[in-house]
């Protein structure tokens, strides 16, 4: 899966906005949205929030976890633990990127948040690499990784499985019977 696809899925997440226009409930295939009352917070999917934000039709209220103190805590927790800790949102990376790109003026301390999330991400990806490494090294048959988000899985998923395939091929080719067979071919 491409990062763009993960991002697309993330756009379905709900965020709170404060619209500055009035609109009755709108009916979409995915469900009803609204009604929009000026000045009154309403939950909408990220894609709509960004769209409205770009047209300056709303003010975004950052998700509760998008807060320096909370993210610092998460980062520390992530650094302390050997395993993956649960993230505040399954799309934390995508949301951070989207919201900070389009609505950074509505998010206090946007830069700090960006750094914190990036730190957390780096820690987690390092952990992921490490576990992949030990997985390969110890020639395990299966491993279980909890609390991974979609985006993180996608960073190594395809590469890891392909690599494992290749290694499998190489290993099987090492066996004598097979190798002679392939030479025949």
């Amino acid at each position: 899966m491409e990062p763009a696809e993960a991002e697309f899925l993330a756009e379905k997440e709900l965020v709170t906005i404060v619209p500055n226009f009035s609109l009755d409930r709108i009916h979409l295939i995915g469900g009803d949205l609204g009604p929009f009352n000026p000045g009154l917070p309403v939950e909408v999917p990220v894609w709509l929030a960004i769209n409205l934000k770009q047209r300056q039709k709303c003010r975004l209220i950052p998700p509760e976890w998008m807060d320096v103190a909370k993210l610092e805590e998460i980062r520390e927790q992530e650094r302390k633990e050997d395993t993956f800790t649960p993230m505040p949102s399954p799309y934390y990376m995508e949301l951070t990127k989207l919201l900070l790109n389009y609505a950074s003026d509505n998010i206090p301390k946007a830069d700090e948040i960006r750094t914190l999330v990036k730190d957390t991400w780096d820690t987690r990806v390092a952990k992921l690499r490490l576990s992949a490494d030990s997985f390969v090294r110890q020639q395990e048959a299966h491993a279980k990784l909890d609390n991974l988000t979609l985006m993180e899985i996608n960073t190594t998923g395809t590469f890891l499985t392909q690599a494992l395939d290749h290694m499998y091929k190489l290993r099987t080719n090492l066996q004598p019977g097979e190798s002679s067979h392939s030479q025949d071919f």
């Binding site: 404060v18 500055n20 000045g39 009154l40 003010r59």
Partner: protein
């Protein structure tokens, strides 16, 4: 008690004059509180954690977590250097009596005494074997007492740094955290004769020099170890606070306990401070709360019988210098009672309203001072008292009891200051001037900038604006038409009212009005098309939004606040003086529209005890509401004699004790209380931008935990929150009939549920009571329910009631019904007009209609057998068709709403509350019969489903609108119309021409009548004419008649028609209307061909009809 700091150790003291309370806490802040209700204390950040602080001569010494003892200036809070350092943090810092030295005791076992002026002059006291807990300076600067975790309390001689004496009094421990008590000890102020040490549950008093124990103070009230002691500034009293949250005050001389107080949450008291002048103690606990104990020893003396003797006793005990310590009870004393009385009003105005905790102001040490509160209370005695006091004027002389030195009765409350709803206090640098449902006005007033920011929630109203605030406006209001700003007068400038009328269509968007000299604006508000301001001259001035001065009227008292909405103006003012923390407010509600009238004539405003008003305004639907400082929201119940009903208590939603909700708006439909949650404050800061939260309403009914109570609450809430519908309809506003019917349905459903519940509980009498509240057809349902659940007696009772109700209905509104009938004609006409929209739209509607019809069909099938017969005896099965067609008076929701959810499955529409089609059948008949006048009158009515608050459009506009609409149709009509337009000055001819093109379904015109009568004449003259030629000939003859004659015919024709239109002007327009009506008819017939069943028409029509249908039955 209130939130002061985050939880952890705290310390408290008063500043030198007692004008403010200063606290420090584990959040590293030192806060300066004006009073206990100060929601905006000044904070000085001194470090990560502050352990202790001391305050004297404008210097603030703090012991903070970076192991230093530092100075800040006070009250500015600017850092002023570091006094000393330890290897670990200091636990206690104190000043000596003249403020030249400080002493600090640290967890590194050391005690240091440092000169404030020169921090290099330090003395270190070594000897404790554990962290030092507390210190106390001898007031004569000879000794220093210290308590430590090693269990000892030592007295040091400062000069030679030696330990004079040491008592092993405390339990040993290894750290401050583990110490049972922090053992804040204290020397008696003044002479320093006694040293008080809290040891377990007693306070031990040691004599100076001899160091022997003089006595122990104890009280059975104290059940846990004492933590702190504090001497009153006079040295007569000693207060002690315990780990269990008890505070006890003793009179040291007599050893009797004069005050006992229990902390409401039993938190450990860790800071105690006496007010330098008043009988007040501030205390803090380890959870960070700050409390104030007032009127120490006020009639609470446990051993004394009569309060007055107690006070007298104290009188004697206090020495002269502390005289006003006694008197300074309520309001600051003044040097002369008369001057005081004069100034008092002014001072009262300055006081922020505080419920029960009036602010203590700075007091001058004048011995002649007299309690103003007392003067006020004893107005009769004022003169006498004042004289006495002045003549006696001798501080040491105790006031004789005949003079009544104390007034023990209720104390007057300072009147609350005028305010704007939705604004934050004026003294803030960044504040909200108003936050309402239209937008936000913020005011910035700092060094660089003095400006006003106006922002609209809905940017389509107007764009955001930034104004310089050169006039220093302090009041503002905002509506969808204008911004109103007002400032108080200054020495040069008069008080000004400025209005920015941004919706004005001319170039001048602004106007300003100066108030007369010495008249200050105190409150402003905006309504629809008008603005109003209340002034200090007790006047309310009304202006149009364009700046024309209009009504002016006097208020019975000083204004508190006012609000406007539509044509309504609500003014709240002081009706009198409140006592014991209560405010005494009155309310006037008036309508400034066409019929100016007063609805509330200065009625008393009900407020929660000891609270004041914080918000007043209207719901979006126009019902007056207000909020008091205890968070109770009240709403005018127009359905019950304009009484006030509490609809919500915001405090119930608060998590913390000092959290509040700051109300910004109220909506009745949907039921929303819009407010901003404020943590630890009454109002929000401007940054970070606060977010609006929505609270639900809840009437304070009993037993809402039970199903019955819950439904009762819901029922009455629904009633209360739909009163506005009746009000709007009565006052000629437009509103959505749909909501009303939904409400009725909801209410009836709740009643039915309650009925069923009572049935189950065998409460038959209650059932009948409930049925009394039901509408006719629901009663029938109830009868059915009762009979099915085999409660024959109940069913009998109910049916009797039903008969009674029916007869009432039948007799009373006979004529009303007729009126209704007529209106139905009109409505039918209006609906017909509605159909004359472009055909595309019609097709779509038809489709929708078919859907609806289908469901209607099903619905009918389902409903008909269910519908109870309106027969006296429900057991007889006879059915009359008329009755069968009376479903619940409800509405089709789909077609009228404009937009439907295209993704919704149609079957969803099978809501059991869709009316049957019969109603619509009758309607179509009416629409076919629509008469000329009917259609015109209909134009007046057909805009029923517009937003609330647009006054009815005048018939002129409406018909104009319909005139434009008629321009879409097929060509034959168009030509007719064009011709009409050309022949505008010859209306009769035009009419005739028009008639040639149409089937003659409408009433005859004058010409037609004339023609009928004269047809024979024409025929005899010209026997070989065909019909068209006859008319032609007739026309020329008719024209030859004199205008009077023609008029007479026209009159005659009109007399024959439904309406009594005599106005000639109106007649001119009739041509267009006529045409339109005709077209409507055509389309009607087309439509009825297309789908057998007619559409559900305009929502309102529908409703009216269904209601009517029901009434007939």
């Amino acid at each position: 008690m209130r939130y002061g700091h985050t939880e952890g150790h705290t310390d408290v003291c008063f500043d030198g004059t007692g004008s403010c309370i200063v606290t420090c806490g584990s959040d590293g802040d030192v806060r300066i509180w004006e009073n206990l209700d100060d929601d905006d204390p000044k904070s000085i950040n001194v470090g990560e954690k502050a352990y202790s602080f001391a305050l004297k001569n404008g210097r603030l010494i703090t012991a903070v977590s970076n192991n230093t003892v530092q100075i800040h200036t006070f009250p500015e809070g600017a850092p002023d250097g570091i006094l000393t350092r330890f290897t670990t943090n200091a636990n206690h810092v104190i000043f000596n009596s003249d403020g030249t030295k400080i002493a600090a005791g640290s967890s590194d076992f050391m005690v240091k005494v440092v000169e404030v002026a020169d921090s290099s002059k330090q003395k270190t006291f070594r000897g404790h074997d554990a962290p030092v807990l507390s210190l106390s300076f001898d007031p004569r600067d000879v000794y220093l007492a210290s308590a430590s975790c090693d269990g000892s309390v030592r007295v040091w001689k400062i000069a030679d740094r030696t330990c004079t004496t040491s008592w092993p009094l405390l339990q040993k421990c290894n750290d401050v955290i583990n110490a049972k008590s922090i053992c804040r000890l204290g020397w008696q102020p003044g002479s320093g004769k006694l040293l008080a040490v809290p040891v377990d549950k007693v306070v031990k008093l040691y004599r100076r020099e001899t160091w022997d124990r003089k006595l122990d103070l104890s009280d059975p009230f104290i059940t846990q170890p004492l933590n702190v002691v504090a001497w009153s500034p006079c040295g007569q009293y000693l207060a002690a606070g315990s780990v269990g949250g008890n505070i006890v005050v003793w009179n040291v001389e007599t050893q009797e306990c004069i005050e006992r107080m229990k902390h409401e949450k039993n938190y450990t008291v860790c800071g105690l401070a006496w007010h330098p002048k008043h009988r007040q103690i501030a205390y803090t606990d380890t959870e960070g709360n700050l409390g104030l104990l007032e009127n120490i020893g006020d009639g609470k003396k446990p051993n004394d019988k009569v309060a007055s003797t107690v006070t007298k006793d104290y009188n004697d005990l206090f020495d002269g210098d502390d005289d006003d310590y006694l008197n300074g009870d309520m309001v600051e004393p003044q040097s002369s009672p008369k001057a005081g009385a004069d100034e008092d009003d002014g001072d009262d105005d300055d006081l922020r309203p505080t419920s029960g905790h009036p602010r203590r102001a700075v007091i001058d040490d004048d011995d002649n001072s007299l309690d103003i509160g007392m003067i006020k209370a004893n107005l009769n005695l004022e003169k006498e008292d004042g004289d006495d006091d002045q003549t006696s004027g001798f501080p040491a002389l105790p006031l004789s009891s005949t003079q009544q030195p104390f007034y023990d009765g209720p104390m007057p409350t300072p009147k609350q200051k005028p305010f704007q709803s939705g604004s934050t206090p004026v003294h803030l640098m960044h504040r909200f001037m108003v936050w309402n449902s239209v937008g936000i006005i913020r005011c910035y007033n700092d060094e660089q900038d003095n400006a006003i920011d106006i922002e609209f929630h809905d940017t389509s109203v107007h764009h955001a604006t930034h104004l310089p605030n050169s006039l220093n406006h302090t009041m503002a209001d905002l509506s969808t038409e204008a911004v109103l700003l007002a400032c108080e007068s200054t020495e040069e400038l008069a008080s000004k009212l400025q209005c920015i009328h941004f919706s004005s269509w001319d170039a001048n968007k602004e106007w300003t009005v100066d108030m007369p000299k010495d008249e200050d604006i105190e409150a402003v508000c905006l309504g629809q098309g008008w603005a109003a301001c209340a002034t200090s001259a007790l006047l309310v001035r009304v202006f149009t939004v364009g700046g024309v001065q209009k009504e002016i009227f006097s208020l019975p008292g000083p204004v508190v606040s006012m609000a406007g909405h539509g044509e309504q103006l609500i003014v709240i003012y002081h009706r009198g003086t409140g006592f014991d923390g209560d405010q005494c407010l009155g309310v006037q509600l008036m309508e400034l529209g066409k019929k100016k009238k007063q609805i509330l004539h200065g009625d008393p405003l009900s407020l929660t005890k000891k609270s004041y008003l914080v918000w007043v305004g209207f719901s979006a639907e126009g019902t007056p509401c207000y909020v008091d400082s205890e968070g109770t929201v009240r709403m005018l119940n127009r359905g019950f004699g304009n009484t006030w009903i509490p609809v919500c208590n915001t405090r119930e939603h608060c998590k913390g004790k000092s959290d509040h909700y700051w109300v910004v708006g109220i909506h009745e439909n949907p039921q929303q209380l819009r407010c901003i949650p404020c943590k630890g404050a009454r109002f929000p800061p401007t940054l970070p931008r606060p977010a609006v939260a929505i609270l639900s309403f809840k009437l304070p009914y009993c037993q809402v935990a039970t199903e019955k109570g819950q439904m009762e609450e819901q029922y009455w809430r629904s009633i209360v929150f739909h009163n506005h519908v009746d009000y709007l309809s009565k006052n000629g506003y437009e509103f959505d009939e749909n909501t009303k019917n939904q409400a009725v349905k909801e209410q009836q459903e709740l009643l039915m549920k309650l009925f069923a519940l009572s049935c189950k509980l065998e409460r038959e009498f209650r059932c009948v009571e409930l049925a009394d509240l039901m509408t006719q057809n629901v009663v029938n349902l109830a009868i059915k329910y009762a009979s099915r659940s085999r409660k024959l007696n109940l069913a009998q009772q109910l049916s009797e009631m039903a008969v009674e109700k029916a007869s009432e209905l039948a007799t009373a509104p006979e004529d009303e019904e007729e009126e209704e009938d007529f209106r139905e004609h009109l409505n039918a006409g209006s609906s017909a007009r509605e159909w004359s929209r472009p055909p595309v739209r019609n097709v779509q509607q038809d489709q929708e209609m078919e859907d609806a019809d289908e469901t209607d069909g099903c619905e009918e099938a389902e409903e008909t057998p269910e519908v109870p017969k309106q027969r006296p005896n429900p057991f007889s099965k006879g059915v009359t068709s008329a009755e069968a067609t009376t479903p619940k008076s409800v509405v089709i929701a789909s077609s009228s709403q404009g937009r439907v959810n295209p993704f919704k499955v149609t079957s969803n529409k099978k809501d059991p509350v869709v009316p049957t089609a019969n109603v619509l059948d009758t309607m179509s008949k009416y629409s076919k019969k629509t008469s000329l006048s009917g259609s015109r009158a209909a134009n007046k009515q057909n805009h029923l489903v517009i937003k609330p608050l647009t006054p009815k459009p005048k018939s002129k506009q409406a018909s104009a609108a319909s005139f434009f609409q008629t321009r879409t149709p097929n060509s034959s009509e168009k030509t007719a119309e064009e011709r009409e337009e050309k022949a505008g000055n010859e209306p009769h001819e035009a009419k005739v021409a028009a008639q040639e093109n149409t089937e003659n379904r409408r009433p005859k015109t004058g010409f037609q009548m004339w023609l009928e009568e004269n047809r024979a004449n024409i025929l005899t003259d010209n026997p070989d004419l065909n019909e068209a030629e006859i008319i032609k000939e007739g026309m020329s003859r008719f024209r030859m008649l004199s205008s009077e004659e023609r008029m007479a015919w026209t009159e005659k024709a009109k007399g024959g028609a439904l309406n009594d239109l005599t106005d000639d002007k109106k007649r001119k327009r009739s041509a267009a209307d006529e045409d339109e009506a005709k077209k409507n008819q055509e389309q009607n017939s087309e439509d009825s061909n297309l789908s057998k069943k007619p559409k559900p028409l305009d929502q309102s029509t529908n409703v009216r009809l269904s209601a009517f249908a029901f009434k007939q039955s």
